[in-house]
Amino acid sequence: MGGTEGRGPRMVALCMLGVVLFNFPILALFNAPAMLFGVPLLYVYMFAAWAALIVLMALVAED
C-alpha cells in the first residue's frame, strides 16, 4: 500500500502499541489467577499479544 514511505511511522506505532500492551495497567488486567484453555490467563495473554505484534510487524515490513 504505502510502500517504504509509510513504513517508518507504522513501525513506530507498532512499537508504541507493544509498549502499551506489555506494561501497567494493561498487564494488571490479566494478572489474575484464572485459567484459559487450561493455561494461566497471564501466559495466554503474553504469548497471544506477542504473536499478534509479530504478525503486524511482518505485514508492515513485507508490505
Binding site: 513506530v12 512499537c15 506489555f22 489474575a32 494461566p40 497471564l42 505484534l53 513485507e62
Partner: protein, 913 residues
Amino acid sequence: MLHGPVIVLSAFAYLGLLFAIAFYADKRADAGRSIIASPYVYSLSLAVYATAWTFYGSVGRAASDGVGFLPIYIGPTLMIALWWLVMRKILRISKQNRITSLADFIASRYGKSAALAGLVTVIAVIGILPYISLQLKAISTSYSILVQYPEVVMPDQPGAHTVGVGGDTAFWVALILAAFTIAFGTRHLDAAEHHQGMVAAIAFESLVKLLAFLAVGVFVTFGLFNGFGDLFGRAVQVPQLQAMMAPFGGVAGGYASWAWLTFLSMMAIMFLPRQFQVTVIENLDEKHLNKAIWLFPLYMLAINVFVLPIAFGGLLRFPDGTVDADTFVLTLPMAEKQELLALLVFIGGLSAATGMVIVETIALSTMVCNDLVMPVLLRLRGLRLNQQPDLTGLLLGIRRGAIVAILLLGYLYFRLAGEAYALVSIGLISFAAVAQFAPVVLGGIFWKGGTRRGALCGLIAGFGVWFYTLMLPAIARSGWLPIGVLEDGPMGIGLLKPLALFGLGGLDQITHAMIWSMIANVGAYVGLSLAAAPSAAEHRQASLFVDVFRQGGETGGGARFWRGTASVPDLQNLLARFLGAAAAEEALREYAAARGRRWPEQAIEADAELVHYVEMQLAGALGSASARVMVASVSKEEALTLEEVREVLDEASQVVAYSHRLEQKSSELEAATAELRAANERLQELDRMKDDFVSTVTHELRTPLTSIRAFTQILYENPDVDLEQRVKFLGIITRETERLTRLINQVLDLAKIESGRAEWHETRLDLREVVADTVTGMSQVFEERNIKVDMRIPERMAAVRADVDRIIQVMLNLLSNAAKFCEPGSGRIEIVMSEASGALRVDVRDNGPGIDPADQRVIFDKFRQGGDTLTAKPRGTGLGLHISRQIVEHFGGRMWVESHPGHGACFSFTLPT
C-alpha cells in the same frame, strides 16, 4: 553410557562440524558465491542473542518468578519495530564510513576520537566479562552434571573453591573456546571485517539450540505430562506455583522492574558488541532487515514457548529444592533416563554458549586491537611501526592475544564472583553495562549537538555508577570486599550504600542501578554537549552521521572535508603495510576502475578523493581513529577550521536547495506543457467541429432547395399542368421554403448561443403561465390533427428565473415534436408539472411510436433526428432539441428523454427555482 570421554568426544565432534561449516562458507565467499547472503541466514545469525542464559537461565528465572524471563525477549521485539528508523540509519552510516565495531562507531561520530574509542572498548570488555563468565559457568555446570549420569547431583555449591584452577572444567572450557575462536575468526585479515564463515556457523548453531530446546519442551509437556492443560492443572494444586501464575505484586515493585528489564533488553539488542557485530558489521545487504524484522522476533517467541512448562515440570518433578532450577532443562531428561535427549540438550547448551563466546570475543578483540592497542603502539615512536613494511601479522597477533585474555578474564570473574548469582542475574549486569552506550549512539545519530566531551563524560559517569551499584556488590558478596560496604555504606556513610544510593531503597538491584546510571549518563552527555560548541572535526562527523540519508555515493561525501597534499606511492605503501601488498594493489586498482581511470596513476599527487578512499580502506582494518592518524602521518593536511567546515556544509545544502528548485521548475514546466497540449487538442477538435457543422448545414440547406427547384422547374416547363396539380406543387414549395427559413433561423440562433452572443432577458416568471400560454397558442395545431391534450399542473409553484421567450421556444419545440409524431385522431399528449428538491419539472408525454434506445442518446446532438434519415423523409431540422437543451442548461437545468419503442416518448426538463 554417558561417560566423560563420550561427552567430550561429542562436544569436539560438534565443534569440528561447526568448523567445517565455517570453512565451507569461507571458501564459497572467496569464490564469490556467498551462502550467507540471505535474509534467513541473517535472521538466524541475529539469534546469537539467545545464549546459555536463554537455554538454561530462562527456566531458572521462570521457576522463581513466573513470567519474569519474558521482558528479555519482548524488549528486543519492541526495539526491532524501531529498526526501520534506527538500524537502517546505523547500517547506512557504518557502510559509508567503513565502521568495524561499536567503539569505532562511537569514536567516529564524535570526531574520530581515539580517547573515546579506548573508553568504549574498556567499558565493553569489563561490562561483558560477567556475560562471558555466565557461558563458561553454564558449559562447565552442564558437563559436571551430565557426567554423573544416571545420578542427578548438583556440582559444588557457591564459595567452595576446593578445586584448583587446573582441575576446574570452566578453565579448560575457556582455553578450548579461545583456541576455537582464534581458529575461527582470526585466520586472515579482512578489510571490511566480514567473517562469513563465522556467520554461517552461528546461523547453524541457532538452529541446533532451538531444536534442542523444543525437543526438551515437547518431551516435558507431552511425555512427562499430558499436554499443557495437565501440566498447569497439576501446578495450580501447589500453592507456591499458583502464586507464580499472577506474579505481579504492587505497582512499584513488579511493574517498574518489568518495565526497566524491557528497556534494558531494548538497549542490549542494539549495543551488545556481538549483536552490533552480526547486525551491522556482518550485514551484507540492507534489504535483509525487512525479513529479520519479523523472523528474529518469531525465533525468540518459539524458543520461549516451553520455558514455563519446563520450569513448572521441574518444580513438580523435584519438589524438595535440591536441584538448581537453572539446570532443569538438563536434569529433567536425565531423571527420566533419556540419555540421547540429555546429550542433545548438552550440545544445544554448548551451541548457545559457544555462539555467544565466539562472536562476542571476535567483536571485542577487534575493538581491543583497533581502538585500544594499535593507537597506543602507533604513537610510540620508539617502536618505529611507521617503517615496518607489513603489519598484518602484528594485527592478527594482537587480536589472538586479546581473545585469550578476554576469555581468561571471563574465567577470573567466574572464579571471583560468578558462583554467587543465578545465570540471569549475571547476564543482567552486562546488559546494564552496554545500555550505557545508548545515549551517545542514539543521540549521535539523531542530534547534531552531541560533542566529544559530552560523550566522554556521559560514558564515564554512567559506567562509574554501573560499577559502583552492580559490580561492587557482586565482588563484595563473593567475599573479596568486606560485606559491611553493602550493609552500612563505605566508611559507614549510609547515603552511599551501593544498593540504595542516596537513600533510594525498595527497588530491585537492576532497576536501582539503571535509574541512577541513566540520570548520570544522559545528564553529563547532554549537559556538557550544550556547554561548549563542537570542534570542526566533530561538526563534520556529526553532519555525516545525522544526515546520512541526504548524502549520495559510496563514500558519503567525506572527501569534501579534506584539504592538503599527499603522494600516491606513500599512500600505496601505507595500505600495503596494513592490508598486505597484494590487497593494497587490488584496492587501488578497484578504485581506479570504478572511476574510469588508468592504474597505476600517472599523477604523483593524490587528490582528496583518493586520500579519503585510502583512509576508509585503512579504517576497515584499523578503525577510524587509527586510520586518521596513519593517513595524517604520510600526508600534509591543512586543518580545516570550524568556519570552513560550516562553509562546506552550507555549500552542500545550497546544492541540495538548488537541485530542489530545479526539480520544482521542471515539474512546473511539465505541467504547463501538458496544459498547452490539452488546449491545442481542444482547438483542433473545435476546428473539426466547425468543418463538420458547415458541411452538415449546407447539406441540410440543399435538401429543401433541391425539392423547391424541382417543382418550380416542373411548373415552369409545363404551363399546362392542371390546377389541382399546380396547387399541390405550390403547397410543397411553400412548405419547403418555410422549412428553409426555419432552418436558417435556427442555425443563426444556435450560432449565437454557442458563441455566447445570444441575448438573454432574465426575469422572474411563473412557469405554469408560460406552459399554459404555449399550449393555448398551439391549440389550433392540436385541433387540426385531432390530438387530445391533458394538463396536470399543481395549484401553486415557485417562480423561476429565466427568459420567457426562450422557455416558450423550448415548450413549442417539445409540443410540436409531440404533435408531429402522434397519430392524427388517436393522439394524446400529457403535460405534467411538478416541484421537487429545489427545481421545477415539466414532462411532455406523447403516445407516438417512441424512440429507439440507440437514437435516445443522439437526438440531442446537432442535426441528429430519430429514425432512418436516409430513407424516410426528415420531419424536422435536427436542431430543435439541441437548441432546447442548450437553453435549459443555460438556466442551470437538465433535459432528457425516456422512451420505450411502441409506447410513446416522454421529454422532461427541469429548471432550478
